[in-house]
Symmetry: C3
């Protein structure tokens, strides 16, 4: 206990998130202290921000960046991780067996709920409460963009990969999963979201080694979407956020869910998932209005608006075709 207390005081003052803006595109500046660490306080504030951005129809995007000059997020507060592994007596075989069997029973009882009832594990489970927050980001109609002003290791990379787009600063920065070097394994979704971004083999080789990617490597592999000079990272991220924000928030949510969740399902189930999302959108007032206008425009001009490249380009810029602008 002494050790984790002293480490906490030396490594970390409680992190906080400074949010700019009330609607449209918010900028969320993560302050993880002098070491740019992710801790319990940041977990809680991240959850509150994501909940609000998801719920509020006037918030269309959140751009995450950091107050640190050359780091996005270093990694977790290691004292917090270490304490999480010691919140109960030396591992007994009953728990170990339960955990191990979960791998095979994965389709039945989710371990999280089972373990949550065991009070001694609460500290450890709290470490991973951000899993639910990351999943909510994936399911939301709000767009999340990581403006990577610097390096992002472990949970820093995992937060970036839970976003919809990643714009990374060029320079002496890295992004990657370092857990193996501490005899750990990724715990914030990195081993799940990175293979879905860049494929299993590139992920496997890098994560087994604990080797991070330079900006150029990350871009070539698809682990980030753009690399720009550091002083343009935030502006470019906001620009991408604003472009996407002009589209229907409900459609963006349906598309994100279909791709993130649907396309990870067996093909037939994924198609049913997509179908359900389509049913809801097709009967929405906004889609109905846009379709009626599209039909009227076709009748008036004798051509399908989307097959007229100039009109298509204007629709991309405006975020929609047919119907008045977003209400």
């Amino acid at each position: 206990m002494d050790t984790s207390q002293s480490s906490r005081s030396s490594q970390q003052s409680a992190g906080h998130i400074i949010v700019e803006g009330q609607s449209g595109v918010l900028v969320a500046r993560i302050n993880g202290g002098p070491h740019a660490l992710f801790d319990a306080a940041l977990t809680k504030q991240l959850k509150e921000l994501v909940d609000r951005a998801d719920r509020d129809p006037d918030i269309h995007a959140v751009v995450f960046t950091s107050t640190h000059p050359d780091r996005f997020l270093s990694h977790s507060d290691v004292g917090w991780l270490q304490k999480g592994g010691t919140g109960f007596p030396p591992i007994n075989t009953r728990i170990a067996g339960l955990v191990a069997r979960t791998a095979r029973l994965i389709n039945r009882v989710p371990i999280v709920r089972t373990l949550a009832g065991m009070t001694r594990l609460k500290t450890l489970l709290q470490l991973d409460s951000f899993h639910a927050t990351f999943l909510k980001m994936n399911a939301s109609g709000t767009i999340f963009i990581a403006a990577l002003n610097g390096s992002a290791l472990a949970v820093g990379a995992e937060l970036a990969w839970a976003c919809d787009l990643r714009i990374m600063a060029d320079g002496d920065y890295v992004i990657g999963l370092t857990e193996v070097l501490l005899a750990l394994t990724p715990g914030g979704g990195g081993s799940q979201r990175l293979p879905r971004l860049i494929g299993t083999q590139q992920t496997l080789a890098a994560v087994l080694e604990g080797r991070p990617f330079t900006p150029a490597e990350a871009l070539a592999l698809g682990a980030v979407d753009e690399v720009v000079p550091q002083d343009q990272v935030l502006a470019r991220s906001i620009e991408r956020a604003e472009y996407l924000s002009r589209r229907s928030k409900e459609s963006l949510g349906a598309i994100k869910r279909s791709i993130y969740f649907g396309s990870s399902l067996p093909l037939e189930q994924g198609l049913q998932f997509e179908h359900a999302e389509f049913l809801v959108r097709d009967q929405s007032k906004e889609a109905q209005r846009r379709m009626l206008d599209y039909i009227a425009a076709t009748d008036a001009t004798g051509e399908l608006p989307l097959l007229d490249w100039e009109k298509y380009a204007r629709a991309l810029s405006a975020g929609g075709i047919g119907g008045s602008s977003r209400v």
Copy 2:
């Protein structure tokens, strides 16, 4: 009703498919009217063609192309889509909840069967009856090739991605998913098949934006397999179809199912799926005959035929090694 009637009359005369050939490689020319639209009539004819091609052992491939000079398929008849969203009273929360919950209950009761019993939704469900047709294309030993003589948006792209190969015309054409611009979400499998072709991240960025790919972009990403001059699209597609057609139709079906369905399953289940397909093929008369001939050829020459590059090249050209040609 007036609106959808007038839109129907102005946008669309009933589409039809002109099929050339009776066996071997069929060419199916899709006529979607002056606007090259996909509608209910085409859905029905597509189903009949796919059913026949799948069932008839003498039909080995179908090449889809279009009668329009520079479009493969523009997109759906929007009046049809729009009417599909209004076939029942303003959405009530019970239905909305049912649909929404499906996303989470996806492993249990498929929504389609549940909703199908609700007669007011029949029109809407009919819109998506081509889902089953596209799945049959994926499961069939018949090879389907999209000869993209021009642009393909929305369901046009989705039909192409449900094929086994895509040969696209070079030029001022595009392929992509535009649904977000009408406040919709893809409904014909695009959000499921495109990520399985080109990865989730490239799919996500394009579909959130509603941005299509040029032929060069589509080729670089893997969204099409070849780009050739427009006047060579059909010939090249037939050439690829004939090459594949020389192989065992039953083997082609087993391979397609293993890759399309099996590789979308959890790894262990995918391996069991492949195993079942292998069991059936291994005891087939054609495989037994080819294996016995292969053994005899090895004995006669002292070398494994497939390890002799000249014999291997001839086998690729002939569609098989050992055994007489396909019966």
Copy 3:
């Protein structure tokens, strides 16, 4: 029966595996006879080796290579495959139906267990007993590397793709799945592991054709990890094996399982799978010791060791940071 007897005698003397080393990195030289064939004897010896390497905490990696001058493994003993398809009377529709239905019932009763009870199928099932061995390789903390000294077709390629890394000899060699040319379909995991390595579309096109990849093609697609001159294949493979071997065997296993199995699950289930692996690692003695040392080093120097590029580079080389070297 005569045919399969004569083929067995002519094609194949019983294969065996020569293992060099007792701990650390083992080199396993596969001797598949003059034709470099995979047979029942090799299946059994492979299982024993993998079981031992997985269980023994002092074995960190196995490098597979071949005693043949220019082949890794040609393919299976075809007489063995052919006999497997004839171990019971001409296929009856009840069995065929059972197998076929499995494709749709895949989430319920695994076919293997059902069929295993039917004694007439035992020979056939034995053919595929290496499935379990390949899965154990994927789940193990031991690293498996294919040192491809030459060509690898069918099961030869499937063994390579069940390894964690593949180093291939440059030259007139190929790797690929040839099954369609014998009217078969891949049965050793190739149709499942190759799409997870290089994507479904590249896999589909190659496997439908029965076309193999040259070393350059395989490298470009990601079907192998490195191509080097033939005389450096083994040395380079051992070098990669030793580098990875310095890391915690338990962490390597957790990472492999999370990526191979977890990332093939629906996203939410994959995240739960990863979470379970993290729980076990976080409370391990080795991780606890390394984390405490990491905290102490941060306190002593005022900087996070992993954010100091020189220390990070040393950690990659040493296989870990914090804590004494691996016990």
